[in-house]
Point group: none
Chain length 372, copies 2
């Protein structure tokens, strides 16, 4: 007996690669009762994904999958897709690699593949933490999922991959491989490099400077914690589009260096200094304003309540215990604090309907709630 399926994907689904994306796909499908099996070259990664509920470990005795999802770094993706097409002649095969042209080119150059069963795809979802431990059934909810259908793709294969995206709560978007790669160069690969370049300047920064860090630096560098092995594969796999974007950055950067050089030599009001800097900041204003949904969307499903927490052992525990007693569920949590500070800021995300209850009850119990 299977549970009632509320989704189109029937399975069995074989997920190859049990990292963040693979495990999240397994969790999402499993939540709808779709049977999922997992493969990974790392036995430890595989066991973690299984323990978290992402699926069963694949064995030779498994029923043939109807869908295979390759969720591996881009430099090994084409090889795994080719293998899956051969090993599972009845299955539709997709991959979720974040570069699409090199994967398709490699597959087109491989003789003897039944490529009409393959449709490349790329869910636009991720986190700064990698691995199954960061996985979530809802990772794809409300996110675009790009399908890069090639000319020879079977309509039934396209439908199967589109259904996978929809079943996981994502919105399918169709693009060519080149169009996709140029788009992600701007909205994903370039931001990654800018975060890494900014964070790299901190390697030799004095401790006293780092102690002044605030939310601006944290936001700009959040994704700088990303995996070098994965990102080297992504960026070499999209070299031309990333080069185009980065050359634009270098031109702007040269303008900034010139303006700052003038100010350093002739003072803050040096000819051209203000104009040169202002041009880049203004262009940044214009570019940032084009990002859709900046103040809406999924991000605002919860409301943040900020509480001052004295920097003493047990205070954070007491806060959480009391929030539990108040009966409000914590949806997310962040701690903001610096060394030697007397207080930290606990930022508790809760459902909008619980904000008033929580704020009032915490204040009654003597907590200092920071009004936003």
């Amino acid at each position: 007996m299977h549970p009632q399926l509320s989704v189109s994907t029937r399975g069995p689904v074989l997920v190859i690669g049990s990292g963040l994306l693979g495990a999240s796909i397994g969790l999402g499908l499993g939540a709808h009762g779709v049977p999922v099996t997992l493969r990974d070259s790392s036995p430890a990664a595989l066991a973690l994904a299984r323990d978290l509920g992402a699926g069963a470990i694949a064995t030779a005795a498994d029923a043939e999958p109807t869908l295979v999802v390759v969720a591996a770094p881009p430099d090994v993706t084409a090889g795994l897709v080719a293998e899956a097409l051969c090993a599972h002649p009845g299955a539709v095969v997709t991959d979720v690699a974040s570069v699409k042209a090199v994967v398709l080119e490699a597959l087109l150059a491989t003789p003897g593949l039944d490529l009409n069963r393959y449709v490349g795809s790329h869910p636009m979802a991720g986190r700064e933490r990698s691995g199954a431990a960061a996985a979530s059934a809802d990772l794809f909810a409300g996110r675009p999922w790009v399908l890069t259908e090639h000319e020879g793709a079977d309509p039934a294969a396209v439908l199967a991959v589109r259904s996978l995206a929809v079943d996981l709560g994502a919105s399918p978007v169709e693009m060519g491989t080149q169009e996709h790669d140029r788009a992600v160069a701007l909205v994903s690969h370039l931001p990654q490099l800018m975060a890494s370049l900014a964070a790299a300047r901190l390697v030799d920064a004095p401790e006293a400077a780092l102690a002044l860090a605030g939310q601006g630096l944290r936001d700009v560098t959040r994704i700088a914690a990303s995996d070098p092995r994965l990102w080297s594969a992504i960026l070499t796999g999209n070299a031309e589009a990333v080069l185009d974007a980065l050359r634009g950055v270098r031109d702007d950067l040269d303008g900034l260096l010139d303006a700052l050089d003038r100010a350093a030599h002739d003072g803050p009001l040096a000819l051209g200094a203000i104009a040169g800097i202002s041009a880049v900041i203004s262009a940044g204003n214009d570019g940032a304003a084009r990002i859709p949904g900046k103040h809406g969307g999924a991000r605002k499903r919860y409301v943040e309540v900020t509480v001052l927490v004295p920097d003493q052992p047990g205070e954070l525990g007491r806060l959480f215990t009391e929030i539990g007693e108040i009966g409000v569920n914590i949806e997310d949590f962040q701690m903001e604090h610096s060394p030697k500070q007397r207080v930290g800021l606990a930022i508790v995300s809760v459902a909008p309907g619980s904000v008033r209850t929580l704020e009032t009850a915490l204040e009654e119990r003597g907590w200092r709630v920071v009004s936003q």
Copy 2:
């Protein structure tokens, strides 16, 4: 009759500049019953700050202030400080501009000023929105407030500015003006420019590319919405330190361009391509890990223990209570968790010597500890 004062600052305090910082100072002092008056070159900005409760509009009939706070853009700060020192011969004068050396240099170059009553300062607090409308009495709570005491400063003046910081909930930090300026170049000015440079690439991006934007791009570019006028003044006022940092970025960028060029010509496995990219991403990892608080500092000195927490009210509180009973001190904490997930991951940072004790005791109590 004044309300009972729980703070050291007695006032009256005159705040010159009624934007985000000035209005927040007025709100914070006013909440403790300290009398605050406001001045601003913009009557509309002044009226807004008054209406929000940041203080009364200053008049010629006011009692002499004991403390004047100049909260204006850096390029007009020195002039306003000089004016305040002359107009209020009994008052301590501070400013909160985000560059400190140019302000002090300009004041030292102005003849006839009683500079022992002046102490420069810089609260490390801000928001992406500017103006009094974004002000908050708690803006400075838990944040560092840098004091850049110069040689001739009167100890009583230093104490008055230190008290202001403490009264507003901030943590005073002492630094020289040059040390401060080099520090903020790395942790504030460089991130601003990297955000602007990344966002500037979006000006001509296709709509379809922008529709793929995710949280990474939003975080990297959040502060790109900043005011060009204010930032031009800040950056020209700190040109040498920002130049140093930006030249480091250009060197790294040139390495990236070379690596990508190799990959574009000779394919993803081109000689030196992976190494060149990996070097920058890895340096970014190292730099990001040094940021204290949420992302970093704690991670180096402490070890993370990850615990699965059922998504039910009270469970997180029970976890913290039991960690307290086990007798292990929590140094930092993060929650990894998405809506609708069955479990969240509580990432508890503890001293390396406590890891084994904590893991064993939690498992005995039925918690699921995820091995890293």
